[in-house]
Symmetry: C2
Amino acid sequence: MNKPLNVAARQFRLREYPLNAVNSDTWQMTSDEPTDPLAGQLLVRNRWLSVDPGMRGWITPKRSYMPPVRPGEVMRAFGVAEVVHSNAEGFKPGDVVTGFTGVQTLGLVNAQMVRKVDLRYASAQQYLSGLGMTGYTAYFGLLDVGKPQSGQTVVVSAAAGAVGSVVCQIAKIKGCRVVGIAGGKEKTHYLKETLGLDAVIDYKAGAVGDALQAAAPQGIDVYFDNVGGDILDAVLMQINHHARIVVCGGISQYIDSEQVRGPANYLQLIAQSATMQGFTMRDYMNRVPEAFMALAGWQAKGEVRFREHVLQGIESFPQAFDMLFSGANQGKLLIQLESENA
Amino acid sequence: MNKPLNVAARQFRLREYPLNAVNSDTWQMTSDEPTDPLAGQLLVRNRWLSVDPGMRGWITPKRSYMPPVRPGEVMRAFGVAEVVHSNAEGFKPGDVVTGFTGVQTLGLVNAQMVRKVDLRYASAQQYLSGLGMTGYTAYFGLLDVGKPQSGQTVVVSAAAGAVGSVVCQIAKIKGCRVVGIAGGKEKTHYLKETLGLDAVIDYKAGAVGDALQAAAPQGIDVYFDNVGGDILDAVLMQINHHARIVVCGGISQYIDSEQVRGPANYLQLIAQSATMQGFTMRDYMNRVPEAFMALAGWQAKGEVRFREHVLQGIESFPQAFDMLFSGANQGKLLIQLESENA
């Protein structure tokens, strides 16, 4: 597996912070050959990259849970990569690692930012999707923050997305009535027919508030929010006493960083003694094995399935990024790096 | 104390739901003599009425924690009243009761909506302010929802108000750094000099965000929010990891029910794994004795003080209501019913 370095390295770098939507000025593709790894560094060859809505936050120069990527730096991304050269204890060429490996075919990473994975237990794709951070995010967000009880109604937005679809399936396993919200016939069909949700709402087809009343006649106990905006406001009007709103993302609000709109109906939190709670995986890193075991077990029994949407080659990164915001992807969005790099 | 009924009864009724600010069309003063109490009812003479921001929600025809007052009905209000005639078990003429006694000098109440109080333990005013629902709201909202730890930074908006000033004092007792936000010199002086807060911000004097950075250099762990709007957004940008935002009210958003503005910076909840939680006293009615004992004990030791702003006569009700929203009151707003009614 330890290939020579004579394949040209390529990277996507942040050129400038986007003011509104990401556009052609945002990224810059470069072909810089990596230098030798310094102490604590690894030279890695990426095999798979994960493309996630959270990336929008990493290119916003605003206080957040980690510092933003700076202009000129390689774009941050989760990936699965193979170690080519190691200058860090505990890693050797041929090891497969996952973590922040960056939008690059070949490059240096700090060994502290990755961990070794064993491809006997799961495929590289799965370590980035249902059995990786995506799955863990669904697991802890729903179970620890949302705390659904059997028989309660759980509503999930971006329900056909990478995180949302896993949330829906875990909620079904826990005995909840699950209502998924997604856009378009393909996604709603998938949620209803393949995942077997109790009700599905196509937000492009009509008023979400009316549809929620029909789909959640007993009111909403848990809302797993990936989108914010009008859908969050519609849900707030129908939450039950002591409802829990899990704030996982706000993709409808990521486009225009100057015009973020908060949930106008947030005072329903008072009327219903309800909670809105945010989280990131940094709070749960010590419990990753628990989530991995649970998700792998459910998958083995056929109780959860992970849908992946795979694009080919590092050149597809800007297109992949745009798909997240247009909703064009169907499942977890991954980039497989081209075979000449394998 | 059992006076004859030959004093004309007067009531403020809701004439119509206000679209925006409450105005002269909102209320109607009437002089209807009460009928005899039906089974389960009491005829009571009000001594004190409590005027609270939450009243704005009761005249909004929107889903909330209790049904809105309907046009034509006597306006809902907490009061302390004396029983004149009883047709309910457990109550007799001369008993002093508190609960929803309504904006009326003399009238019928359902016995289930009031409870007896003993004026040997606290004055009638105190049962409506620091030792009543106002104090309990501060107690449970701060301690149960906000969960402040000694040494943490607690920020309170409407800090010179009825609930806010008690929150500030309990947070001091618990060993927190307490930052109060209020409008104008009189209120900020009171908070700094009389209540001894660690820092005070006059939101009318400049940008709250900048002032918060100076007043809360370690970031904000607990925010007790009575106002919403720009102040909530400024706080969100400076919350710490695992911060708790207690949503008690949103007075800046009560005026125009069509144009409520949600917190644009709510996605900071994700970045900081933070919580926004609403509550009302209905969740804590079984724990009222605990709050009463704690507050009465602190008051006896001089560790908390309750400031009351008293208006005279039922005619002052519309003016009192307006004061809440202009911020003109200094402390808990009460109406003492005129002596000819005593």
